[in-house]
C-alpha cells in the first residue's frame, strides 16, 4: 500500500512537471505579445521595448525558461505583468474565495444528491425520485451561465434576497453555488441513486434488516457505505466540472475568484500569473485525486489488499 502510494505520488509529480513545462511553452506559442496588449495600439516601439524589458520577454526563450524554472525551484513564480505584484500573493487573495465557492457548490450538490438519491433509491418513481430526476434533467440541459442569469433575475433583481454580483459575505455564495451545483448535481444524483439501489439490493442489507438494524442506520450507514466508493469517484470527477463551472459562475456573478483572475491573465498574456494559476490549479487537482485514491483504500478494505 505504501509502495502503491509512493508510485502514484511519483506519477503525479511527473505529471505536474509536465504541466509546468507545457504551460510555459503553450503560453509562448500562443500569439500575443504581453507588451503590445498592455500598451495602447498606437504605442511606439520605445514604449513597447520598455514593457518587454520590464517583463523579461525581450530575452530569448531558453533564457526565459531557465529563469522560470530556477524561479520555481526557489518557490518564486515571478511578478504579475499587470498587477506588478508577486503572483503568489494574488493567488493567495483569490484562491480561498474560489475554494469556498467550489466547496459550497460541492457540498450543496452532494447534499442534495444524497437526499434525493437516497430517497429515489428507496422509492424508485416516488415523488422525491421524480423531483430528483427533474432537477437533474434541468441541471444537465441548462448551461451554468444561463442558470446564473435566471437566479440573479429571480432572487436578486426580483426578490432582492441575495446580492447580484461580487462578494460581500456568505449571502454572496448562495446563488453562484446553486448555479455551479446544478451542473454537478445530475452526475452525483445518478451515481448515488444507482449505488444506493445497488446497495439496498445487497443481501447483506437484508441480513442487517433481518437482524433488526434500524432502517435509518441501514440506509445511511450500511447502504451508503456501499455507495461511498462511487460517490468519492464522482466527487473526483466533479472537481473538473467545478473548475469549469466556477469560472463561469465567477464571471456571471462577478465573484472575485481565481477564475476571473485567470481569464484576465490569459487575455493580458500575463505569463507569470497564467503559469502560476495553472500550476497551482493542476497541483490541487492532482493532489485531491491522490487523496481520493487514498480514500478508496480507507473506504474499501478489499482495495487495500489488491493494492
Amino acid at each position: 500500500m505504501r509502495r502503491f502510494f509512493l508510485r502514484r505520488l511519483a506519477q503525479n509529480l511527473l505529471m505536474l512537471a509536465f504541466i509546468v513545462l507545457a504551460v510555459f511553452v503553450i503560453m509562448r506559442l500562443t500569439a500575443g505579445d504581453p507588451a503590445r496588449i498592455k500598451a495602447p495600439i498606437f504605442a511606439s516601439e520605445d514604449v513597447l521595448d520598455r514593457y518587454r524589458a520590464e517583463f523579461g520577454t525581450d530575452t530569448p526563450l531558453p533564457a526565459q525558461l531557465v529563469s522560470f524554472l530556477s524561479g520555481i525551484v526557489r518557490g518564486d513564480f515571478g511578478e504579475s505583468f499587470r498587477y506588478q505584484e508577486p503572483v503568489f500573493s494574488l493567488i493567495a487573495q483569490r484562491l480561498p474565495q474560489t475554494a469556498m465557492l467550489a466547496l459550497s457548490a460541492l457540498l450543496l450538490a452532494v447534499g442534495v444528491a444524497l437526499l434525493l438519491g437516497v430517497a429515489g433509491a428507496r422509492r424508485p418513481d416516488g415523488w422525491l425520485d421524480r423531483l430528483g430526476q427533474a432537477i437533474a434533467a434541468f441541471g444537465q440541459s441548462a448551461p451554468t451561465f444561463w442558470i446564473g442569469l435566471m437566479l440573479v433575475l429571480v432572487f436578486s433583481l426580483g426578490l432582492g434576497w441575495f446580492p447580484a454580483v461580487g462578494f460581500n459575505g456568505p449571502q454572496s455564495l448562495v446563488l453562484p453555488a446553486i448555479a455551479i451545483a446544478l451542473a454537478v448535481l445530475p452526475a452525483d444524483l445518478r451515481v448515488i441513486r444507482t449505488a444506493m439501489i445497488d446497495g439496498l439490493a445487497q443481501e447483506y442489507i437484508r441480513t442487517a434488516r433481518a437482524f433488526g438494524i434500524p432502517e435509518w442506520r441501514i440506509t445511511y450507514v450500511y447502504a451508503l457505505r456501499n455507495a461511498a466508493l462511487p460517490l468519492v469517484t464522482v466527487v473526483g470527477i466533479d472537481l473538473g466540472y467545478l473548475l469549469g463551472g466556477t469560472i463561469v459562475a465567477e464571471v456571471v456573478f462577478n465573484y472575485p475568484g481565481i477564475g476571473q483572475l485567470a481569464i484576465d491573465a490569459v487575455n493580458a498574456r500575463d505569463y507569470p500569473l497564467v503559469q502560476a494559476i495553472t500550476i497551482v490549479t493542476a497541483a490541487i487537482f492532482v493532489f485531491v485525486n491522490l487523496g481520493i485514491d487514498l480514500l478508496y483504500m480507507v473506504l474499501d478494505p478489499r482495495i487495500r489488499i489488491e493494492a
Binding site: P40, F42, L149, L157, V266
Partner: protein, 539 residues
Amino acid sequence: MGEAGQGPRTDLEALRRGVESGEVSRREFLRRAGALGLSLAAAASLLDAGGRVAAAQATPGAGGAEPSGTLVIANAEPPTSAQWDAYSVFGLVDAQVASLVHDSLLGYDSADAEIVGHIASEWEVTSPTTVRLTLREGVRFHDGSPVTADDVKATIDRVGNPESGLAWHGLIFPAGGATVVDERTVEVFTEEPFGPLEKSLAVMPIFPAGDIADPELFKQRAMGAGPYRFVSYEQNKVTVEANPDYWAGSPKIQTVVLDYIQDANARISALLSGQADIITRTSAEQLARVADDPNFYVVDVPPLTQIVYIYQNKGNLAAKEVRQAIAHAVDREAIVEGILQGVGKVPYSSIATTAPGYQEQAERFAYDPARARELLSSAGFEDNLTLTMATTTLVPFQKEIDQAVVQFLGDVGVTVDLTTLEVGAFRTSYNQYDMTLNTLASFNFDPDFVLGFYGGPTAEAVFGLDDPNIPPLIEAQRAAQGEERLAAINDLAAYLWDLQPALYLSDELWPFIVSSRVKDYARVPVVGEPLLRFASKEE
C-alpha cells in the same frame, strides 16, 4: 495593494509619536495617515491604540455639507496596471483614477467643457510655444504639502523629455518643459508650436516632485492634489475617498469605488440591484434594459472616439481607389442602425463628429455598390480581390459588424478571408491583416491626439502608411491657434477622408447608465471623471 507597506508603516509610527508629543495635531495626523493609505477609521483606531485620542471626529467638508455615501462605478475593464503613473498608461480606469486623485493646472468645472483654472488660477498664452501660469494659493497634496512651482516643473519636464519613454509623450505633450519664474509662476513651453496645449494641461495630473524623483512610489499608491484620496486597490477595485481639504471644497460623495465587472450581464445586474450606481460604456442591449425605467438615466458624453477599420495601406489596399471603393461598398448607416442600434454616429470626415474642427466633407462616400465596383475595376480588380480580416470581441458587436462588412464587400465582388482570433492575439497581430475593426480615442478632447497617429512611426506601425503629405499637415494644425487651427484640422481631416487610410465606420458613443439616486452627475468629453466631485448620492 494600497495597504501601507513597510515604509508607510514606519512613517505612521513616527506620526503617531508626533501626536503623542503634541507636535502633530490630531487632524493633521488623520490627514497624513490617509495619505499613507489608511482609512480614517483605521487611522483613528491607531490613535486609540496610542491612548491619546478617544474618538475620531469627521472632518467637515469645506463646502459646508459633509461628504456622504458611496458611489460605485462599474467598468468593463480594470486599471491597465497597478502602477499609478498616469503618464505611462492609457486606460479608462487609469484616467478615472487620475482625474479623481490628481489635479491639473487647468481643468473642467462644467459640462460645457470650458477650460478653467485649477492649480493655476490664471494663465496666458504668451507665444505659440509658451503658456504662463500663476499658481493658486492653498492647493495642497494629500500629504498636506503645498503644490509648488517645483512640483509643476518636475511633472512637465518629465513628460516633455523625449527620452522619458512615457506613453503620453508626443501624444498629450510634445518635446518641451517648464521653467520656474518665481515661487508662484511657471511657464510651460513646447519646442514646436502645440495647438492642443491648453486641452492637454487640463488632463495632465501634477505629481509631487518627490514622487517623480522616486517612481517606486507609484507602485504603492496614487497621491495628488485632487478631490479624492487614494485608499486602496484590491481585487480589481480602486477605492478613493473625499479629500475634505480640496481647494475648491470637498466633494459631496464620501467614497467612490471603481469596480471592474467583466461580464456585461453582471454589470447590468449590479446596476439593477443597486450594487453599482453607474455602469460605463454600455451597449444597446443594456440600454434597452433600462429604457423606460425612471430609476435610471443615461449620460452620453464620449471623449473623441471612433470605430474604424484599420487598413494596412499596402499590398491589396495600396491603391486609394480600392479603399474608396470599400467606403462606398459598406452601408455604414445600416450597420449603426441595425447592429449598434443607434449607439453610434456615422461621420462624413476622418475625425469624430464631436471633434473641434469637424466638418462634413463634400464627398460623403455614401453607400453605392455600383460606384464601388467602378472604382475597383479602375484599380484593376474584377471579382478577384481577396482581403484578409481578423475578428474578435474587442469592440462591442465586433463579430456582427465584421460579418456585415464581409457581406457588403461580397456584394461588390471582394472576397474576405476572415480569421477569428482571441482578444489577446488580436491586439498583438491586428496589423498583419488587411483590415481590422478597432477604436481610436483621444484623451485630451483634441483631434490632434488621433490625427497624430497618421504620421511618423506610428502611421507605419499601425496603418502601414507612409504618406509624405501628412506630417506637414499635422504640424500645420499643431502650429495654428483658434479659428485658424480649426481650419487646419479640417484640412488634414479632409485629406485623410479622401485618402481613406481607414474605414471610418462611426463615432463610438459612451452611454453611461446612472442610477437616479445619483444627482448632478455630468461628464465632459475626456476619458476621466473631472466633474464627479459635484455629484451627490441619495441613500
